[in-house]
Symmetry: C2
Subunit: 202 residues, 2 copies
């Protein structure tokens, strides 16, 4: 007997992701997570010693999911325009599936800034960043794109990719009321990269 156990633990994780993403660490209730997983509180504590441990696991997953597209972008060996198309698609793919991610991660870092230290773990990040900054500067020098600070370009790419998901409830209300915002956001990936490329290309 081991199958049932694994399944239960997976149900707990799924429930924890849902509740923590919606209510945050402080707002989430262990009872609610147990209910959502279809088990009782005793069993929940049997598998995950306490709320913090459970949260940490969920948060780490989420942080990784949020950083992966950036890290992949920085490491990507394609030419600049293709790299931009790739990261936009990558982010839209992840965020259509997990739209709560940006809010969740940003918010928990906000309420406990020491959690930001986990950003250091990502390997290949610093080299990738240097490589990409050089690539952008050279694209400027060789007249492929207009002058722009590389970090600002990266910031713009990230902003355009992530914010519509983070601000989704408000965005839907003021711009896309009565429409399926996920469909709209899903189709947006390539238009976002076009918007960016249009802005920088000469």
């Amino acid at each position: 007997m081991e199958k049932k156990s694994v399944e239960t633990q997976e149900n707990i994780l799924i429930a924890a992701r849902t509740i923590f993403a919606q209510k945050g660490l402080a707002g989430a209730r262990m009872q609610e997570i147990a209910d959502c997983a279809g088990i009782n509180k005793a069993l929940l504590h049997y598998y995950y010693r306490n709320k913090e441990k459970l949260f940490e696991q969920v948060f780490d997953e989420a942080l990784k999911k949020m950083l992966r597209p950036i890290v992949a972008f920085l490491a990507d060996n394609s030419d600049l325009f293709q790299k931009i198309r790739n990261i936009c698609r990558h982010y839209h793919e992840v965020l259509v599936e997990y739209p709560f991610l940006p809010n969740f991660v940003i918010n928990e870092i906000n309420s406990d800034p020491t959690r930001i230290l986990k950003l250091f773990d990502v390997e290949g990040f610093l080299e990738g960043r240097e490589k990409t900054i050089i690539q952008i500067n050279e694209a400027v020098k060789s007249g492929i794109i207009r002058p722009i600070d590389p970090r600002e370009l990266i910031l713009n790419i990230i902003s355009l990719s992530i914010f519509p998901f983070a601000g989704r409830p408000v965005i839907k209300e003021i711009l896309y009321k009565n429409e399926n915002i996920y469909e709209i956001l899903k189709e947006r990936a390539d238009r976002v990269s076009d918007f960016i490329i249009q802005s920088i290309k000469i």
Copy 2:
């Protein structure tokens, strides 16, 4: 004796803004708000009946501050490019002063979506939106800007203006470590509008 009373109530509001913005409704503690305001819990409850009332007041203020630049943009009678410059400056002004605002508003709407109903209150919004959508469509027709869905343009403007503040702790860590990110963001307003205008102008 009335001056002291008013001052105390203002101190409470300032404290409540700080604590609620950092920890949210669920994470904030009345004791912490009292400490931050330099008073005791009894006095806090003397002026604000309960946590929810206090929160509501703080949240409504915050929501208004977040929506004002959009509403002003939609009502602005300038030409399109100038309107874009205006909203970017407007947002950067507000958010340099209150960087916690976007997260706070988005997050509390997230954890209680019924709060979104307060968006309806804003007057002149629907007319302004129609007017601006027509303005953008006509700029496309008359060949001033490339073809773009008006709502998508608005979404891009908002994303580029707000996200860097919302994601500030992470952005600082991965792009602007050891630098003063507020200085960087403050100066960004005009570069953001240039980035947008560059992308759409023919």
